[in-house]
Amino acid sequence: MVHISINGKVVKATEGEMLLTVIRRQGIDVPALCHHEAVEPTGNCRLCMVEITREDWKGWKRHVTSCLYPVEDGLIVSTHTPEVMEIRKTILDLQLARSPEAEIIQKMAEEYGIYKTSYDIVPDADNCIMCYACTRICEVLGRSAISAVMRGHRKVIAPPFGEEPADCIGCLSCAQICPTDVIPWTDENGRRTIWKKKFDLIACKKCGKTTITREFAEFLMEKRSIPGEYFNLCDTCKRHELAEKMGGIVVAALEVTL
């Protein structure tokens, strides 16, 4: 257990935790785009910048990305100093030039008083901010179906060779985690399309409702030993089945007692 001071308030934290997690637990709003608890922090969006200092630093201070900075005893953190706000403003201004259509960036920029970017908008602007959240979550799943390809300003997130990714199981984790909702996918007529690859969705045997893809179910069966019959019905039908089972027990018990 370590003690750190956040905006003058002394708080407890567990060793090894990152600053951003501790700050957010205190209910302090520090913006971040690439941060997600399920994946390793990489500090790509730079928005979670905070100011840190220590008593023995004799007035020296540092600006660090809080998602990447492990807590240490005696740290003094300020989350909203004028300098930090200025840094975040600049980053948001640049992000807005790169992805002018991204709603989340527009909203964040408005909070910081930026309504229009002061830089030239990138000619082939898209909403991808290269935060790598999608590739990191795919790695957590152990698939790594997508990655960054090309170099410099031509860098994009794509499956190998721009073809249908062989390792993709259509779980939608990458599309769900994407902060700017840039990964296109569709669920139509019991088929899911993502990264141009088509998947069969498992339809409920009773009502036909679809939840996950067959490939993802097979992956869960193999890696997490979930029995295959669990995927036959949708959640609603499984609940009705449980009710009938429990009702059957009640009726049987009544017959015994009577």
Binding site: A38, F216, L220, R224, L242, A243
Partner: protein, 136 residues
């Protein structure tokens, strides 16, 4: 973990007060959440409230690759950490009883968390068909 739901199906009238209590106690942004408990008919006019059974070896926890579902040792409930959830629906599809659900309104996965050890549904049941009692 000595507390369990005690269901008396013969007393359940299917009034759905537990559903309301659940939805409103899990409100978010001034909107009621999706209920985690459902009184479902198993025969004509015979109901049984169905909710998460908090299994000993839960399929939802096994299916989660992101460690978002974890058992709270104090209450015995398997709780979902929304910060770690990426909505891949593995738990929704894997639960053999269909008790992990997807809430379209709030765009999140929900499951019974036993209201931190004091379930609202049991408090509100007018016929006391649903009780949260200490077991031996």
């Amino acid at each position: 973990m000595n507390y369990r739901f005690k269901v008396e199906p013969s007393l359940c009238t299917g009034c759905r007060t537990c559903e309301l209590a659940c939805a409103f106690s899990h409100s978010k942004n001034q909107k009621p959440g999706l209920s985690r408990i459902y009184p479902l008919a198993h025969a004509k006019e015979k109901y049984v409230p169905v909710t998460c059974l908090q299994c000993d070896d839960p399929a939802c926890v096994k299916s989660c690759f992101f460690d978002a579902l974890r058992r709270n040792e104090e209450t015995g409930a398997v709780e979902l950490n929304l910060e770690r959830c990426v909505k891949c629906m593995a738990c929704v599809a894997s639960c053999p009883f269909g008790c992990a659900l997807f809430d379209d309104v709030h765009d999140e996965v929900v499951k019974c968390d036993l209201c931190k050890g004091d379930p609202a549904c049991a408090h509100f049941c007018p016929t006391k068909a649903l009780k949260y009692v200490r077991i031996l």
